[in-house]
Amino acid sequence: MSKIEIKDLTKLYGKTVALESLSLNIEGNKIYGLLGRNGAGKTTLLNLITNKLFPSNGEITIDSETVFENENALSKIYYMSEFNLYPPTMKVKDLFKWTKEFYWDFDVEYASHLSDKFGLKKNKKFRELSTGYASILKIILTLSSNAEILLFDEPILGLDANHRDMFYKELINHYSGKPKTIIISTHLIEEVADIIEEVIIINNGKLMLSDHTESILSSGYTLSGKAEDVDSFIQDKRVIGIDTIGRFKSAYILGSRPLIETMNKHNLEITKLDLQKLFIQLTNS
């Protein structure tokens, strides 16, 4: 079980701040969703965790060992990067072979099985793969690596609906068989909302939220009804966002839910928070 600890992490590109004093603990054996808008700093964070980049300030440790040029810490991770880090002329089957050289637990048989399942041709060269199949190859390499920590950066880039469905199912199957720490970075929240056990939201390089998915969803509620009714009810509440359509209003509120019966008396309707809506409200700046 591997833990990732991130302390006061800052990354600057020239004068641009990509990440700003971000601190975060990632416990072992859970599926995390790293959510953020485009350019929020998700990829930078993953690149720093895997020492592809160097932080301007702060520290990252895996099981209390720094990741900086640390063989032991780094070998615990397989990172599905959005960069194409593979030799363009290398064939898929050779990529499996060479990955096995560096990840001793790499399961060539499983990789081969997954290739057949996803329809990835093992004799193709890396550069001959379409965007979707390049993603599939990287997914297969990551799942078959048997590393303790799997990082997926936008795993479903270019995947069609069938392949996306297969990916999510395979991910769950793989995780159920051998629990490990998995981080999925994505901006397509709806698709992963039910899969992730923990949510990390970053916005403009800052950590907005990090909590259990369920506690987040039960930490608030959505209240909808006639605009005036909603307005009068939410005056003393912590409102994180409001959607208005004509005279109909929905308010996203943090705090414990009032009783459904009392709300019904006010002609107000209560539903649970929706991760996607919460995300939009939190990162809407």
Binding site: I31, D194, I196, E197, E214, T222
Partner: protein
Amino acid sequence: MLLDFDTTKPLYLQLAETVEDDILKGIFEEDAQIPSTTEISMNFKINPATAGKGINLLVDEGILYKKRGVGMFVCADAKEKIFQKRKKDFYENYIITLLNEAKKLKITKEEIIIMLRKECSQ
């Protein structure tokens, strides 16, 4: 099994209710094995911990039992237990909601009783 991902209840509760429904409908018979947590979470693409929580709830309520190394099975008196539980919930979930909805639509209590009689006699 079908999950409709409604937005008012936590996912694990919905899952538990779905399994109960399937037991009531006879899809899962008493003493029969139900799909594993992995199968359930894969099928609905939900976190295995969530699926486990839903299933464990039913184990705690004596509706399912675990055979070590084999899987989850439906208890012999599961149907009866679910009936009892659902009856209790029926009043809160349906009667109260019905009356609230009626109030919104300005339907009087007398009208409701007439509707029920009519429906029941058919």
